[in-house]
Subunit: 354 residues, 2 copies
């Protein structure tokens, strides 16, 4: 076992008193920001890990609260995650507190601070951006952090994701098997890791099937159903040769030719699926377009929508399980959990191209 | 203006030092539970209200966190509430922390304590039970509390609800106008205030239309879609004269006669609506049964479901607005906000009885 530096060494390197170093590393309030940063830097560079369990016992018991910082609770996916986390935490007598970053890295960082000042025992995060500096110092100082849905790039931290590439490839192959070649991909914001995984794999699977120009039908920005709907309406305009924009656009007319219409849509998240269905309902001939949605949703069954499904509640449960295990044993090996996906055929993905 | 007692008077009545009284009323930790209760009792009986703004300034600024204790975040209704609260709080530079009581009054009470120990600036609650003693003392001590969706019986507190009775009556009259007389009511847990309001008004509206035995088709317990589905399957069994239970049940066979089938269902919450739709899809002749759902939901439009709609996001927004106003002025008059409902016809509620 690696011998770790003591708190006294951290205090000395940071040039603060033992008491101040202890306050910072126990996440107590009322320490100047600059001092706090110096101590966390020293702790990080020295590889110091606070023994969370011992410290919690010393201050009168493990904090019962676990924080969950997530994108948008109004989205069925995140609320399923939250309910899985909550279920598991209750098994351990712990309570979940949820806050929304609204996918804003700055908000994520300020929320992290707010929750730590209030002594949450652990944090579960769906990382909003690529910069995780707020978390890095805290992890180095021994805070339990688990990330879920997306990895935190460059961070050595327990992670729960789904097999995004496997699910995307299965969806594309499902549509190809039903005769489609002109498949549109309607995805979320392009900076999100899940978007990148899914769109990359979409293009790779299409290339493997001999479709080399599939990026013509790739659309991003479907973070809301309304945005997705607009994107699909535009794709369907192309379908009927009624492109509303004079200028050539990425994915539309090339070399002056009329754009070719997609015969199928892979809606790359639940928002995109709802918007796609709304657009198809209103468009002439829209009911002939095949749809596979990434993310299952409660009414998909009633609506007959083929989806890439996985267990979001289980994702949350696994993340909570890791948070509990990490708190009990800060030195256990870091885990990456990848949950499987599967295509559930319900009708909309099995229409043949007209 | 009423002259209020000073902190010194509260301390004297409680038999504690000024400092201890201040600690309790400023919700600082590390005060014995018995002492805390004594101070809160004294404060309540004397009508003491901590000046929240002054106290917050004295301890370095208003707490940026507002707590929301709600039933179940996996339910679309509660997440819409949360997103409305969050939107309004952000306008004021505040941040929402959400926790789920799972409709358990004990959990609600322990969460209240946890959040207060962590100095949330205000609490917004959908009360789980009838006993609000945990909140009563805190409100007396000057904590800002707003209740939403259901009132807190006997408590003098800002409240945001919808017009449950108006919405229910409109739904019943809508079905009556389309020729229905045998209308089933499928509702949530009977101890919930919203259930009581909606079921009472359902029976009153039916009586007013000359249907005096409508309680035959009243069912409760539809807190999940699965439970609702089972209830409707049972009602439909009656519809086909295939009651599965030998003994007479409330709402079924009377005086040895075969039970009469409902021709329409008023599903009294969004869970009940989903379960009802699942049951009707699978039942022979189920597509002939009219449905009106209480609570709109995103895909109701695509599914053609007639609903009693209201603005859940606005409900949350109003609750947050009241919390901010109350924090700024603890002595302002208590407000009751009742938001309107309306029937949105989309097809399922306009089927005539077969």
């Amino acid at each position: 076992m690696i011998r770790r530096p003591t708190l006294a060494v951290v205090a000395e390197v940071a040039g603060v008193s033992l008491k101040t170093a202890s306050r910072v590393l126990n996440r107590e309030p009322n320490v100047a920001a600059a001092t706090r940063e110096r101590v966390l830097d020293a702790a990080a560079s020295l590889g110091f890990r606070r023994n969370a369990v011992a410290a919690d016992l010393a201050r009168g018991g493990f904090s019962r609260l676990v924080g969950f910082i997530t994108g948008d609770l109004a989205n069925e996916f995140y609320s399923a995650l939250a309910s899985g986390i909550e279920r598991e935490l209750r098994e351990h007598g712990l309570q979940l507190l949820t806050a929304s970053s609204d996918e804003d890295p700055e908000r994520e960082s300020s929320l992290t601070g707010e929750l730590l000042e209030r002594r949450v025992g652990a944090l579960i995060v769906t990382p909003a951006g690529a910069d995780h500096s707020a978390l890095r110092g805290e992890i180095a100082a021994g805070l339990t952090v688990v990330v879920v849905d997306r990895p935190a790039a460059g961070m050595d931290v327990d992670t729960v994701v789904i097999d995004n590439r496997g699910g995307t490839r299965a969806a594309v192959e499902h549509l190809l098997a039903h005769g489609h070649r002109r498949i549109a991909f309607v995805g979320d914001e392009p900076h999100l890791w899940t978007y990148q995984e899914r769109s990359d794999e979409f293009l790779a699977a299409m290339r493997d099937a001999g479709v080399s120009d599939a990026e013509r039908w790739v659309r991003s920005g479907a973070h809301s159903a309304a945005a997705a709907r607009d994107l699909v309406v535009e794709l369907l305009d192309a379908r009927h040769g009624q492109a509303r924009h004079g200028q050539a656009r990425h994915g539309q007319a090339r070399d002056g030719q009329a754009p070719e219409p997609p015969t199928a849509v892979l809606a790359a998240n639940n928002r995109a699926t709802v918007g796609t269905l709304q657009a198809l309902r209103d468009a002439p001939g829209g009911d002939g377009v095949a749809v596979v949605g990434f993310d299952d949703f409660e009414l998909a069954d009633l609506l007959g929508i083929t989806v890439v499904a996985y267990d979001a509640v289980e994702m949350g449960r696994r993340a909570a399980e890791l948070a509990v295990a990490r708190s009990a044993d800060p030195d256990r090996p870091v885990e990456l959990v990848v949950l499987p996906t599967r295509v559930v055929a319900r009708g909309s993905g099995e229409r043949e191209p007209r």
